[in-house]
Symmetry: C2
Amino acid sequence: MSTALDTIFAALADPTRRAILSMLLEDDMAVTDVADPFDMSLAAISKHLGILTRAGLIIQEKRGRVKWCKLDPDAMREASIWMQSFGQFEAVNLDAFEEFLQNELGTTKQS
Amino acid sequence: MSTALDTIFAALADPTRRAILSMLLEDDMAVTDVADPFDMSLAAISKHLGILTRAGLIIQEKRGRVKWCKLDPDAMREASIWMQSFGQFEAVNLDAFEEFLQNELGTTKQS
DNA sequence: GCGACAGTCAACCAATTGGTTGAATAATGA
DNA sequence: TCATTATTCAACCAATTGGTTGACTGTCGC
């Protein structure tokens, strides 16, 4: 099942990458600017950004010679939903949760 | 910041370990029983369980000669909260989600 | 006490990861 | 046009990961 979660969680497992995501929460950034605060080569940061992109956690868009990085919440949401079936919901009715989710998915699609 | 998230997300990055967590959502299990559905040595599963334990995702408790594994939702919650700060949960409608949660918690507590 | 069962440990292996450096590509500006 | 800036690529390295096997350590039932 879902190799997507593999790459998402693996991407989130690295503190440098989580820090990058936090930075991008503030604002979109160019690769060089992302790299600046880190004590690490630009190439290393470029690799990290590649991993985040492949995981679907960010989007990279090239304008001119600079490549802009912006957060893409979709992947995070997918992982978050998976996790929430464990966390808060063990004290809570799981069936109701599923019903809720299906309802949500239904309503967003039809209206 | 928080090396705890490192080990939690790393633990969640493996599909075998996520499958184990799903199994434990149903019921507490002995190590041998956890290993049963997997096409993998018992030692390998034992390692996976060690990783899940160190990440704080499960608790292992030895009773007699069998070691019981049970879910520990605390670590998952911690990671989940971190993720939620990236929010933008438009698709699932977080307001409705919270409302749902409060409802659930209310009803399970009072009746 | 003894054989069978539950689980871990230790040594090993191949593949992956996170970093480096130096060269390559591509767009910019003077 | 040419040096500069932005970014990636390729080769390499050490450390980690996910798996194996075989030996070891309890603990149970008879």
